[in-house]
């Protein structure tokens, strides 16, 4: 679209200028980047060990003493039957923790956008002849990049920890791309929703209140931390539609198993399709909401 004097309205140019600005700010502020590493470490090392369900299996049940090998067998059975065959609880947990980190970083990542409104930067760019879509999508991309970087850090921390993430046999680059592709679809969808929300609210207080209200149910009705097998039926039904469950299941399937059987491939494909549809839907809903929020009032 021609704007004036031969200058072209350039969605990609606007998008890259705004995204570059946000990422430069992020990289230049060590206080924003470093805690990500420690958050990953704390979640995986502390949560992964302290909540490890195989650690609470008693060796003596009503006077019946299990030998150490029997105890190990019980633990392995729990992991293989309830936790999808994961070698360790952290192997099961990693995909869930990455999802959890994505959700919370997406949700609170909007604070930068609210500050842009409060400090007047948003008005400065709204008075420029740029596409409104570039403001929305730069918010989506910057949030996604920041959260996905933390996702990669979490993955690396989980692998490096002793008794941490033990990847399935044959896990290769394609599986890595598949697992993080599923997580990226979830990240995109969440980023669309939370970016639109951040562009719509006027204060950080409002954003934090809404985010707190929305994120906890979202996480705890998913299989991020625990499998759905023992959920009550109503929770299982909700969990089944929860996109976090789909992303966790897809990424976990690849991380735990590496090479997938044909039935696992089908299950992975359905999860990916669900996430793709969810991402498109949230992209459209977020775009419409952001457009409304950015229109002159």
């Amino acid at each position: 679209m021609l704007t004036s004097g031969g200058r072209q309205a350039d969605l990609l140019g606007d998008l890259s200028a705004l995204t570059r600005r946000a990422l430069l700010k992020w990289i230049r502020n060590p206080a924003a980047v470093l805690p990500g590493f420690f958050t990953a470490l704390f979640y995986i090392a502390l949560f992964g060990n302290s909540f490890n369900p195989t650690g609470i299996v008693p060796s003596n049940i009503n006077g019946f003493q299990l030998t150490s090998s029997e105890l190990e067998e019980v633990k392995t059975a729990i992991l293989s039957q309830t936790f999808g065959g994961a070698a360790t609880y952290i192997s099961y947990l990693t995909a869930g923790i990455i999802c959890l980190i994505l959700v919370f970083n997406m949700a609170f990542g909007g604070i930068d956008l609210v500050l842009d409104r409060q400090l007047g930067f948003l008005n400065t760019i709204l008075a420029a002849p740029i596409s409104r879509a570039s403001i929305y999508f730069s918010g989506v991309i910057q949030n996604m990049v920041k959260a996905m970087a933390l996702g990669f850090i979490t993955f690396a921390v989980a692998i490096l920890l002793p008794n941490g993430l033990m990847l399935g046999k044959g896990f290769g680059v394609v599986d890595f791309v598949g697992a993080f592709g599923a997580l990226a679809l979830l990240a995109f969808a969440l980023s669309c929703v939370f970016t639109a929300l951040a562009l719509s609210v006027k204060s950080i207080d409002s954003l934090v209140a809404i985010v707190n209200f929305a994120t906890f149910p979202l996480v705890f009705t998913s299989t991020a931390l625990f499998p759905a097998a023992d959920f009550p039926s109503w929770l299982k039904a909700i969990s089944n539609f929860n996109p976090i469950t789909k992303a966790c299941n897809a990424a976990r399937l690849l991380m735990i198993n590496g090479m997938l059987s044909s039935s696992q491939q089908i299950s992975f494909g359905w999860d990916l399709a669900y996430l793709a549809a969810f991402a498109v839907a949230m992209g459209v809903v977020g775009y419409l909401a952001a457009n409304k929020a950015l229109a002159p009032r």
């Binding site: 430069l24 230049r28 500050l115 008005n123 002159p296």
Partner: protein
Amino acid sequence: MRRLMGSIIEADKLSKLYPPKTKAVDGVSFNVEEGEVFGFLGPNGAGKTTTIKMLTTLASITSGTAKVAGFDVKHESARVRESIGVVPQELTADDELKGVENLMLLGKLHHVPQSEMKEKARELLRLFDLEEASERRVRTYSGGMRRRLQMAMGLVHSPKILFMDEPTLGLDIQTRTKVWEYIKKLNVSGLSVFMTTHYLEEADSLCRRVAIIDHGVIKVLDTPARLKERLGGNVLILEVSNGVDLSEFLRTIPTVSDVSRDGHMYKIKLPKTEDAIPAIVDGITSRGLKITQISFLKPTLDEVFLEVTGRTMREEEGEAQESWVQNVNIGRSSS
């Protein structure tokens, strides 16, 4: 000042209603000529910023029409945005970016070709004396430097008109005077400027015409000189050595519009010029009388403002400054 060509802003019965019933701007009509520095004065909440927001496409227009640089604000907002530069009240330059990076960012968002951008940034940094600080992050800038950078950011795409909302609010006198110099320099180079201000001496010194707005309505619009003349012009106060009545003599001097006497004291109104003063002094001394006290009062925009709004500008300045400082503190402390 630049030769005037035609209207760069045409506002016709412009209104803004904030639901349910707050009429922030109520049918204002005015034109700003190309090449003119036009001042918008008014108490807090009078509708100044809302008017700027409507003209810069940041707020919707409830009724009426406005054209900026020949484009309809409502229906051709993208064209308007290409033609305008905006220097908001807030300091919006990004703290974490360098001065030059802020300029380049705004240049990109205004689609200035890359080939022109570097030269333009250099030119603006030179104009606003920011060359040495250009590679420093803005967080290290003083308030005055931030304000200058903000002005440079508004000019990076060579706009036809620059909107400035309280350009010197929160600045010390020295920096304020420096900003006035920049505005004068820009105007000489041909830029039209629409500005709001709380500083009457600023409007007096910079603006060819000013409008005083109150409760969303333009109360007066004219040149500062003519607005002051409306108050009856300059006043000469004299005390003479004895009680001889000089009123009749004083009334014969052509530019004297009114004379009142209280004993030895005379209050003489001179609407247009001070040329009469030598004639008055000569006339009195040639009668063998002595002038024991003399003072000359020029009406200021402050008095015009008081008459139009019922408030002095000094109260407004204090409130505006306080609220601006609070806003900035809230913003910075949350970051």
